[in-house]
């Protein structure tokens, strides 16, 4: 037992983060970032390696989240304390894994129906209160007596504009009557409001992605410093050298084939 404890301690000591590890981290981060960015030039083995690493690391991250936030505190520890009621969701959860065995895959329905039933039961009241009633309430709010009495004309005009646009959008999605005459006009105006929403959503998405891009460039700049031994420069140089060599080898092969 003591031997096992000592072995584990020695193993854990390898994973102690030292200043050297931090410098090495800069190299790893710069390398992975540049490998993924290399796809902008063309598909290459370095990108594929980084892509598959991301897939594995992402699953690993989720695995450790479930391990330390769900399985250990909500299943393992209660079972150790004699709370056997957690066996019910654990068995329902384990039933999902029977999907891999076609003969008994129907057992997984017990787990799936539980998730679907609970999710459906929960989503109805939450959707009614947040996505339905609150949206209608928000549209009506500017026309309440207290708001009108406050004399805020701008707020009232904006509220009217929102209500008008909202009703027009609803007409666009209303298929129970034929879209002609006034309904068609309202529905056409609704399209403009939808386009404004889609355009703004697109703009926000682009800006979100660009802020990530700035973050990555900022990190690359940081790891190009002398304390990281110019990690960004070296990795970038090596990758450029690879692409040049690859191009030369490919053109030589191409030339050879042409000669034949």
């Amino acid at each position: 037992m003591e031997f096992l404890g000592n072995t584990w301690n020695a193993f854990a000591a390898i994973f102690t983060v030292t200043p050297g590890w931090m410098t090495f981290g800069g190299w790893v981060a710069a390398g992975l970032t540049i490998c993924l960015f290399s796809f902008l030039y063309k598909d290459n083995p370095f990108f594929k390696v980084a892509e598959h690493l991301y897939l594995g690391a992402g699953m690993g991250w989720l695995f450790q989240v479930y391990l330390f936030q769900t399985w250990k505190p909500k299943v393992f520890l209660p079972l150790m304390e004699g709370q056997y009621s957690v066996l019910i969701p654990a068995l329902l959860g384990l039933s999902l894994v029977t999907q891999f065995f076609p003969r008994i895959s129907w057992v997984s329905r017990y787990g799936f129906t539980f998730i679907m039933g609970y999710g459906s039961g929960l989503v109805i009241p939450l959707t009614i209160s947040t996505d339905f009633l609150k949206q209608i309430g928000g549209t009506i709010a500017p026309f309440m007596v207290s708001e009108i009495n406050s004399g805020n004309i701008i707020s009232l005009l904006n509220g009217t504009f929102v209500a008008f646009g909202f009703i027009c959008v609803l007409f666009y999605f209303f298929f129970s009557v034929e879209h002609k005459g006034a309904v068609k006009k309202a529905s056409n105006i609704g399209i403009y409001f939808l386009m404004l929403y889609f355009g703004a959503a697109f703009g926000n998405t682009v800006m979100g992605r660009f802020s990530l891009l700035y973050g990555r460039f900022d990190d690359l700049y940081k790891y190009s410093a002398p304390e990281y031994f110019y990690a960004t420069h070296v990795v970038l140089g090596l990758l450029v050298a690879y692409f040049i060599l690859d191009k030369l080898v490919l053109s030589r092969r191409g030339g050879g084939q042409e000669a034949h």
Binding site: L53, W61, Y197, R209
Partner: protein, 222 residues
């Protein structure tokens, strides 16, 4: 057998669904305890659902390696990436920080996971822009409105856009940020509310269909 294979699972869905729905509208200690317990149970089942996905991923890559399918070598890196996170997580007991010190899990998160996930989504920025260039052909007034809204939101949030605004429309006394704020809080809200209500109605109807067993495609074939 059909009773065990089909009817009991459907009854579980109906029973849990109706009880959860009812508990929301009957606020008392019993219903609150029920919701709390179900929430815990759902977390546990969802954890095993993740395990199902993980096993499926591992199986597909194992299959690729064993068949030596084209690009099988890359599949090895899925396992490498997984172990690269899980081993330090076990050693660090799932803690990225130990007091002021970074653990090996924190190291992996900062230098591996953040780099990979941040860059993967940052690369999309280039593709979004190139797609937009092709997609934003202003052929109709609606397309122009879409373009104008996107243009305002994108350019208005960078210094270049603010400089351009100040140069051309600075005399109006309004800042470009004021225009964006109005755009986001007035006309965009009208469009979003319409869509949200549509989604809400669709979601409620689908949920009711699932609870009452009308929608049962998720159960697979008999």
């Amino acid at each position: 057998m059909i009773f065990i294979k089909k009817h009991i699972p459907l009854f579980i869905c109906f029973f849990v669904g109706v009880l959860t729905l009812g508990s929301y509208y009957v606020p008392n200690a019993t219903s609150e305890n029920y919701i709390e317990m179900m929430n815990k149970w759902e977390n546990i089942v969802a954890g095993f659902a993740f395990l199902l996905g993980l096993m499926s991923l591992f199986y597909s890559h194992f299959h690729k390696i064993s068949r030596k399918a084209p690009g099988w070598g890359y599949s090895l890196f899925v396992y490498v990436g997984f172990l690269l996170v899980v081993i330090p997580a076990i050693v660090s007991n799932g803690q990225p920080m130990k007091g002021p010190d970074m653990t090996s899990l924190g190291w992996i998160y900062r230098f591996v996971f953040t780099s990979l996930s941040g860059t993967m989504f940052a690369v999309l920025a280039f593709y979004i822009v190139s797609t937009a260039y092709r997609a934003f052909r202003i052929k109709s007034p609606q397309a122009f409105v879409l373009f104008a809204a996107a243009f305002m939101v994108i350019l208005g949030r960078v210094p270049l856009g603010q400089m351009m605004w100040d140069g051309v429309l600075g005399w109006t006394g309004y800042q470009v940020t004021d225009v964006i704020e109005w755009l986001m809080s007035v006309p965009v809200v009208a469009g979003r509310r319409g869509i949200m209500i549509g989604i809400a109605i669709g979601g409620i109807v689908t949920a009711l269909k699932i609870i009452f067993g009308i929608e049962r495609q998720y159960m697979g074939k008999d």
